[in-house]
């Protein structure tokens, strides 16, 4: 059996994801699709709109055969770390290929870009330094340095201003740097851009657009056309049970409590909290009555929204710099769910996996897994605060079977 891997958040699962899975399977001639999915806290420093169990079901209902969890260490990390974790896990579980969606749509320009930056590494770094010195932001400096190099290049390279191209590039870079055997593929994204509002004449919308519609409308009707029917049912189930979807506002009372329970100095112990912002965090938390007010006070040229959200993620979960030691190597494969086909794949190959397969977390001392469990517990408390209802937690929940 041949397996293709996809790196996903499914926040929530939509028609574009369905298209991506089916294309990935078809183009790779795979028998099995394996999704490595972030748990409850995501790459842009946000809690997922619904829990990982519901999102696992959505994936299994729509073409994924196995869903494994991207550990918290990686799922909340910057692009390099995120990619290292995800691609190593797909390699460890035996995928021949990984397939990512991109604006570019074909793989060669990615490989050309990788080669260009590899060959001119020194020059590239020097250019970045020069741009940073002029006072422009680091991401902007990266982009300008790349564009300058790119002008000298004959072969086709990718546009690194497109978010999915950037992620794809990081996947490839991680696979190459770590000498993995897994091969990259890309599937062109269709229609919807990344941050766009939903377009009622289409059946494709971005997850960002869908979330925006959910929170603004407080209703699911507007998004019905953009998600598979089973996913819609799961979203509706969640809404009925927990009243609302999860966003930082839901967790705001706990987040504020978590911030104000520290001295400024103690706040800097939490992962990703940069020295110098601790006083501003406390001041903003004291003054604000909502997450949005809080963030608006903190946002500046120096601290982007995403960077701030990553800090508050770790403050919320209570995870310190010492705990999130940026281990670049996953230590387990955590199974969240499987179809019958996925189960057949596991039976056949699990002895060859490069990492232990974990189906139940009943008792563990693995520090990386303990962080996943903590993140789930803290997410569960936040949902319970808002809804008065409990969600499934790691200790009691076996993998979902479909």
């Amino acid at each position: 059996m041949n397996a293709v891997g996809v790196v996903v958040e499914y926040n929530p699962f939509h028609n574009g994801h369905f298209y991506h899975i089916s294309q990935s399977k078809e183009k790779s001639n795979a028998d099995v699709v394996i999704a490595v999915m972030s748990g409850h806290f995501l790459q842009r420093g946000e809690p997922a709109v619904i829990d990982k169990w519901h999102r696992t079901k959505m994936a299994l209902q729509n073409g994924a055969d196995l869903v494994i969890e991207l550990p918290y260490v990686f799922s909340t990390g910057h692009a390099t770390l995120f990619s290292e974790g995800a691609i190593q896990l797909l390699e460890a579980i035996g995928c021949t290929n990984f397939a990512f969606g991109s604006e570019e749509g074909t793989i060669h320009p990615f490989l050309n870009t990788y080669k260009l930056l590899k060959v001119h590494e020194e020059q590239y770094n020097a250019l970045i330094k020069q741009y940073v010195a002029t006072g422009i932001s680091y991401p902007q400096s990266l982009y300008k340095a790349y564009e300058e190099l790119r002008e000298t290049e004959q072969s086709q390279t990718i546009d690194l201003s497109k978010p999915n191209n950037i992620l794809g590039y990081h996947y490839i870079e991680a696979a190459k740097r770590l000498n993995l055997r897994i091969e990259p593929m890309t599937i062109p994204r269709i229609q919807a851009g990344f941050h766009e509002d939903i377009n009622t004449e289409s059946t494709i919308a971005s997850a960002t657009g869908i979330r925006k519609a959910i929170f603004e409308q407080q209703s699911l009707e507007k998004i019905k056309q953009f998600v598979p029917e089973e996913s819609f049912m799961l979203l509706a189930d969640w809404q009925q049970q927990y009243s609302s979807f999860v966003q930082w506002e839901t967790f705001w009372p706990y987040l504020r409590f978590a911030i104000l329970r520290n001295t400024a100095e103690q706040l800097t112990r939490f992962a990703d909290v940069s020295e110098g912002i601790e006083f501003a965090l406390i001041k903003a938390a004291k003054k604000s009555n909502s997450f949005n007010e809080f963030m608006t006070q903190l946002k500046s040229k120096r601290y982007t929204w995403t960077r701030l959200q990553r800090m508050v993620t770790h403050i919320y979960t209570g995870i310190t710099k010492e705990q999130l030691h940026y281990s670049a190597k996953p230590s387990y494969i955590r199974l969240l769910g499987m179809t019958k086909n996925g189960q057949a794949y596991l039976s056949q190959y699990k002895k060859q996996f490069q990492l232990p397969l974990i189906s139940r977390v009943a008792s563990t001392n693995d520090p990386m897994l303990l962080l996943d469990i903590r993140a789930t517990d803290m997410y569960a408390l936040g949902v319970e605060l808002a809804s008065g209802k409990k969600i499934a937690v790691d200790y009691q929940t076996p993998p979902i079977r479909l």
Copy 2:
């Protein structure tokens, strides 16, 4: 002007307190009554039923001329520490006497007990050791050792099984040990015992009984006869504004969150958390849906309810062992409120106070005062969680004037 000091929690203020204040003033021939009052977290490890501003008003309306705050470090401490803080503050603000309520009712037996234990200190300690070695609890061992010594003594000594006698003894012991000039007095307590239920044929009930009635009835009617009219009005105001009175159950969601956001090892950093209980704290927090469930799971011979409550107080406020360094010396006199008479006393004597008088905490680096502010902030968040309403916080609140 002559000042007499009283050490109080006023949780809430009742007729017994009124009697105690007026007797203290009369018997000491004082012109001014100064109350050193605990802030939001009290000696038995509990949050106060209403905030310190309301309790200050109650005191000023009923005979106290000045209310100063007993810092968190002392107000949440064991009897020795609590007494050291309170009596030193009363000395620092110029009180000639302090007057405590006791079951004993006259001062000589207290002084005899103090002398007895001082003279036979070695023998006393040896006896305690012997009793502890037989497996009985430390407080029980203290008591038995004392009773054994007491049998050999001719003069009248106090019964140390009575809670107010114990506290009074600690006040005297602190004053003597620290060589303070302030002189002890005692006022006999009338009628109500300490832990009794309320008795509808009396106008005196213990604060414990009154709190029990408030929480069990969810109504103030039952306690009307036991509190001065103005205090009743303030309690009714609070109830109208904040729906309910504060108890640990009110803060339970935050407390659970605060516990589960730590590893077992991290939990032991909080003040008073004994090594060895950290795993039980986490386990109980995970399993429990209320504070009462949580405590019932934790209580054991080794850990009394009060000791456990002190631990959770510090976990709730986020105050570590390092922060609560058991400084035995207050560093300021924090003014919470004053009558005109109290104000006259301040004008006349404040230059002679042994510690700086703080009326506003606008900007401070005093680590002891920062803990008081933290405690208020955390108490305020808990009240807001339950009621959706804010209470006065330290930075914005000047002393109450009556």
